[in-house]
């Protein structure tokens, strides 16, 4: 019985994947090419210094030292939710940049195409980090790990899947600044918004 149910689940997963690929091929999804003007307004600002402080083990020790255990658990949950929002924004910004780089990847200029590839690689790395860190955070929040008094240390989320999140995001910002063709003042707002 279990084998039949599992086989049907796998077949359904395969069929849904076939439908998704068919949709991609049919509509050339994602359809719209994103140009440089579509990048800045669609970015969500990421406060890297806030992320640094959330991942800082010293700050966490300070909280642990100053607050009572229930207060610390509550504060820690808030910090986790905040970091989840940071990773969500990082993932969103990476998606915007992936779409922009996609449009430029077929550029006849080999240097532009190569920069687009580099930007995409960094963006995918950031998305993978956000995905893995997000899963860990959601599980911790969902399973209420604080009840067992074994709160996960946020500092451990600096790396997920052997990807250093903030380092990768920094590299993405650098790659984006080098790639996006904008006037200098707009480049500044791009780096500010990222």
């Amino acid at each position: 019985m279990f084998s039949i149910i599992f086989t049907w689940l796998i077949v359904a997963w395969g069929a849904l994947s076939c439908i998704y690929m068919l949709r991609c091929a049919w509509t050339r999804f994602p359809k719209r090419d994103v140009d440089a003007d579509d990048v800045i307004p669609f970015l969500y600002p990421v406060d890297v210094s806030l992320a640094e402080s959330l991942l800082d083990p010293a700050t966490e020790f300070e909280f642990r030292w100053k607050l009572s255990p229930p207060q610390f658990r509550e504060a820690q949950r808030k910090r986790m939710r905040l970091y989840l929002e940071v990773t969500r924004r990082m993932a969103h910004n990476a998606t915007v940049l992936v779409r922009y780089a996609d449009a430029e990847k077929n550029s006849p200029d080999p240097r532009r195409a190569s920069l687009a590839s580099a930007l995409q690689e960094k963006a995918i790395e950031v998305r993978l980090y956000s995905l893995l860190a997000g899963i860990k955070l959601r599980f911790s929040l969902l399973l209420r790990a604080d009840i067992l008094n074994s709160m996960p240390v946020l500092a451990h989320l600096r790396t997920a899947g052997e990807i250093d999140g903030l380092q990768s995001y920094g590299a993405l910002k650098t790659a984006a600044a080098a790639f996006v063709r904008l006037p200098p003042d707009e480049i500044e707002s791009l780096t500010r918004n990222l």
Binding site: I10, C18, S114, T191
Partner: protein, 245 residues
Amino acid sequence: MSLLLRYIPLGLLALLLWVLIRRRAYTACPWFFAYVAFGVVAGMARLAARLSIMRNPVIYTGTYWITEAGYDLLGMLVMYEVLRVALGNLTRAWWARLIFPAVLVAGIGMSITRANVVPSRLSGIEFYIAVGEIAVRFVQVFVFAGLVTLVPLLGLKWRQYPFGVATGFGLYATVMLLTTTKFSDFGTRFKLLWGWTSLVAYSVAVLIWIWFFSVPQKAQTPSSELSAPSPGDLKQYKDALRRMR
């Protein structure tokens, strides 16, 4: 089923082989190239054996099962290659190396469980080849569906060679798992339906591969032949870095 219809996939495979050679895909996907080349040779061997079936039926049976084992082995190696290429650029995490063995164990486990639930009429080496074939189908669906799930999650580009290879195998494997699970209810009509479905699904899979390989794939990593960035580019780069600090 007429002999001509039965060998449509062989013609399509020969066309695919030509496309692969033209695109020099043997450098990007060597195991897939080996699979297609083997498919063409195996198809011709089966055709030759079928033509001589009146003289010696054992030759056809032997050729069929030997080539089937070859398809199983190469199908597995192609899936390993697809995962290695697709995930190699994504993560260097230690657990990434465990994904393929885990998928392989899951596929073999599912196939053995299924063989216990639905007893086979085959025995000996033929039984193991058939079990291996179902295991390969499970692995192909796992790999295909897993990669397709990563497309929206990570924003990966779907039109690249490994995804094309996985899509062709994934479609064929999904249809074959569906037919072996569902069509067995049809009793005596099963064999005919299975034959037709297998033929159509495999032809569609080969057409998908031809479509994916019909366009050249851009280099993923910066080429060493590229010249250094111009002073203007470097200045823009440095300015951007300075502003970020």
